[in-house]
């Protein structure tokens, strides 16, 4: 084995002797020796980082996760704790450990734009890791640790600037954004050298098991075999339990996943209810008219747009109108257009929104704060108007808000309004432990989105049981969505592990 050493001290010492120069202070000499002795890393195993972090008290599961990643997974892992258990803390501990041990000098952290400031603050103030948020004029070679948004990183000239660096560690937050291997960001990360690498996501599978394959293939190509092999062994069509267990074991070699109940912390419960909604006769009539549109005009033949319309019709007439009106313009002739116009008129004549009424009923039973999640901006605006007419104050929230506006909205919700109405994009990066009622006004296709939503309130600091209301309109597409959610949850649990309740048990 090669032994690295430098003869610089020796040469300087001999020079000093020969030139009869001045000697250094005995006190500093001793201090220097003592510092090395105090900081000495005497064991390969064990964490050094906690003793360098006097102002941070990591939780046991966080320390264990950091240790597991370093000692058993050799610094390449997916951190997949449930939402709200502190994946950032775990990543910080691991990065700090490698910095102390001299194994990492340069590190790159990729995160969604909305979470960049949070990363910079946590690393600087909790971990004393000097880190900056990347901006246009920053020279990457002058900063060892940089946080950057994925969207920036994948684009020229930033991409090339990153490739020109020699990073020892790559950390990717919200790594489920890499589930699709055909995207630019996936390609970008694939071509990045990953000596040590952490992928952070509470939801390593959102829709199917291939997402996990691609995620792990970024981290450790070959760990799940190559694509052909994986497909033939594990694809959904050939489902059997033995394979699932084998796959789960392979996955566990590269993934740490803590569940709330493993943390030794007292967690409040989740109480999940499915609230069935019955359309009024008028609503049902319009829903059926919409279903029939595919026979009226080729503009409605696309499965995707029909599904969208049905979902919107379950949400609000306002959401439905926008799409329907757009599609009307694609109709082939006047007759088709008139037909659609007729449907629109029936739609706009609706006076009752059964789901909104149910929502009001739920809210009016409590004086506590309530969050409503909807998929549509139009429904969001409608709900605010409708609740206001019933004397209930609400604030709106969506993911496009800048940090200062998010903080302000959160403040308004906490201090002044009873209800927060958020669109899908509002799910990430906001913590609302002071609230414990979540109404899923519309259901997403992806169960992990539900988990992310609930995770906004069911996290450290929540003192009450969390009430979750999933609204499902009878005999509509929402029933299909619900069934699909159960199937996807099943795949997730077979491969990744148990999932906290997001739907009520079947």
């Amino acid at each position: 084995m090669i032994i690295e050493r430098s003869s610089k001290w020796e040469e300087d010492f001999i020079n000093k002797l020969e030139s009869d120069g001045e000697w250094d202070s005995w006190k500093l000499y001793n201090m220097s020796y003592d510092v090395v002795k105090t900081n000495l890393i005497t064991e390969f195993s064990g964490l050094q980082s906690p003793k360098y972090l006097p102002n941070l008290t990591p939780l046991t599961h966080q320390l264990e996760a950091a240790e597991t990643v370093i000692e058993r997974m050799n610094g390449k892992a997916i951190l997949a704790d449930e939402v709200g258990l502190g994946k950032t803390i775990e990543a910080g501990l691991i990065l700090k450990e490698y910095l102390i041990r001299g194994l990492v000098k340069k590190a790159l952290i990729l995160a969604p734009a909305s979470l960049i400031n949070q990363w910079v603050e946590e690393l600087n103030y909790k971990f004393y890791i000097p880190v900056i948020a990347y901006k246009k004029n920053i020279q990457l070679d002058q900063y060892d640790i940089v946080v950057m948004s994925m969207d920036t990183a994948k684009k020229s000239p930033h991409r090339e600037a990153i490739y020109a660096q020699d990073y020892d560690m790559i950390i990717i937050d919200e790594a489920h954004k890499l589930k699709n291997h055909k995207t630019k960001i996936y390609e970008f990360v694939q071509s990045l050298k990953k000596k040590f690498c952490l992928l952070l996501t509470a939801t390593p599978i959102q829709n199917d098991v291939f997402e996990l394959f691609y995620l792990i293939s970024l981290l450790k190509p070959g760990h799940l075999g190559n694509y052909e092999m994986f497909q033939s062994s594990f694809s959904a069509s050939k489902h059997d339990l033995e394979h699932d267990e084998y796959l789960r074991e392979l996955v566990n070699q590269v993934m740490v996943r803590n569940r709330r109940q493993d943390t030794g912390i007292e967690w409040t419960n989740r109480q999940v209810q499915i609230i069935p909604i019955q359309f009024t006769d008028e609503e049902r009539e319009v829903y059926n008219l919409i279903l029939d549109l595919k026979d009226v005009s080729s503009a409605f033949s696309g499965a995707f747009s029909m599904i969208t319309l049905q979902k919107e019709m379950c949400s609000s007439k306002e959401a439905t109108y926008l799409t329907l009106n757009n599609m009307r313009q694609n109709c082939g002739d006047q007759e088709e257009e008139d037909h659609v116009e007729g449907v629109i008129q029936k739609l706009m004549a609706l006076e009752v929104n059964s789901k909104a009424e149910k929502t009001y009923e739920i809210i009016s039973k409590t004086t506590d704060k309530v969050i409503i999640f909807t998929e549509y901006r139009a429904s969001q605006a409608y709900l605010q108007w409708y609740l206001n007419s019933k004397g209930i104050t609400s604030v709106l929230f969506n993911g496009k808000f800048k940090k200062s506006k998010r903080d302000y909205m959160k403040h308004l919700f906490k201090e002044h309004a009873q209800v927060l109405i958020a669109t899908e994009a509002g799910g990430e990066g906001i913590n609302l432990q002071f609230c414990h009622h979540v109404i899923n006004y519309d259901l997403p296709w992806n169960p992990m989105k539900l988990e992310q939503r609930i995770g906004r309130v069911h996290r450290l600091g929540q003192e009450h049981d969390v009430q979750i209301y999933n609204l499902v309109t009878d005999n509509t597409i929402e029933k299909d969505i619900l069934d699909m959610l159960y199937v996807k949850i099943d795949v997730f649990e077979k491969v990744v592990g148990e999932l906290d309740d997001i739907l009520s048990a079947l």
Binding site: M1, L17, Y29, Y33, Y52, P54, N74, K194, S217, P221
Partner: protein, 259 residues
């Protein structure tokens, strides 16, 4: 290192480097830096270059360091310093540079007879083992420049000895038989021997992990004729991650004249 230890470390460090203490409690310290210390730790080379080229009056900075913010009363503004903070790490590095070479004599002035002092060469080494993990060891060697006798734990043995920077009046030194440059060579051989004879299972284990990871990678690209760039990239990353290396560093050392 607890806040109290950090505090006394800072105190010792600045006093030893001719920076005087302007203000202090048990939980913070304000020091007037010397010109040399300002240049060394304040990171403002342009100021000093400007000042020197214009013959201006140097105005080295004052620095307030807070060692225990939780116990601070009053409105003290300053930098919070604790074990692990960048400022303390910087001062550790400065300490290493400023305490690298010494020449010390055992104080024998209280003795009645003239005393002979024997020269020793001391070197403190830090040995590091690196792969995807690290381990460090400290060796403190002293070599008797008359007899060639080698001691480990030399630094610790000095803690009982009263040392001064100049030859005591009633002492005289023996001229060394072994030249320091030859002594250094001997110490280098000694440290390398220790390293070579150490148990290197860790390196074998690291190589095994490396080999296994490499096999997994090969499997992924099995049957691919023209392997893409990402294959080479991964291969390179595995080497950097696992390849076992050993590093020997000198912390400091010097000449000691002992009874």
């Amino acid at each position: 290192m607890f806040p109290q230890q950090v505090h006394s470390y800072l105190r010792d460090f600045f006093l030893e480097n001719d920076c005087h203490i302007v203000n202090e409690s048990d939980h913070y310290i304000t020091v007037q830096l010397s010109i040399d210390m300002d240049k060394r730790i304040m990171n403002r080379p342009f100021y000093w270059r400007y000042l020197e080229s214009t013959n201006g009056v140097p105005c080295p900075a004052q620095l307030t360091l807070i060692t225990d913010q939780t116990k601070l009363d009053g409105n003290i503004k300053g930098e919070v310093v604790h074990f692990g903070s960048p400022r303390l790490n910087q001062l550790f590095r400065a300490t290493k540079e400023l305490g690298a070479f010494v020449q010390m004599f055992e104080n024998v002035n209280h003795l009645e007879t003239k005393t002979i002092l024997t020269p020793w060469l001391a070197v403190n080494y830090k040995v590091s083992y690196y792969c995807d993990q690290t381990k460090e060891m400290l060796y403190s060697f002293g070599l008797n420049l008359m007899t060639g006798q080698l001691l480990d734990g030399f630094q610790e043995s000095l803690s009982e000895v009263d040392l001064v920077t100049a030859m005591p009046e009633n002492a005289f030194e023996l001229p060394y038989i072994i030249k320091p440059i030859r002594a250094l060579e001997r110490l280098n051989v000694a440290i390398e021997n220790i390293v070579q004879q150490d148990d290197h299972t860790w390196a074998e284990e690291a190589n095994k992990r490396w080999h296994k990871a490499q096999q997994v990678l090969e499997y992924f690209y099995d049957g691919v004729e023209d392997k893409p760039e990402s294959y080479e990239m991964e291969k390179q990353a595995l080497e950097e991650q696992y390849d076992p290396r050993i590093k020997i560093e000198v912390i400091n050392g010097g000449l000691f004249y002992l009874k």
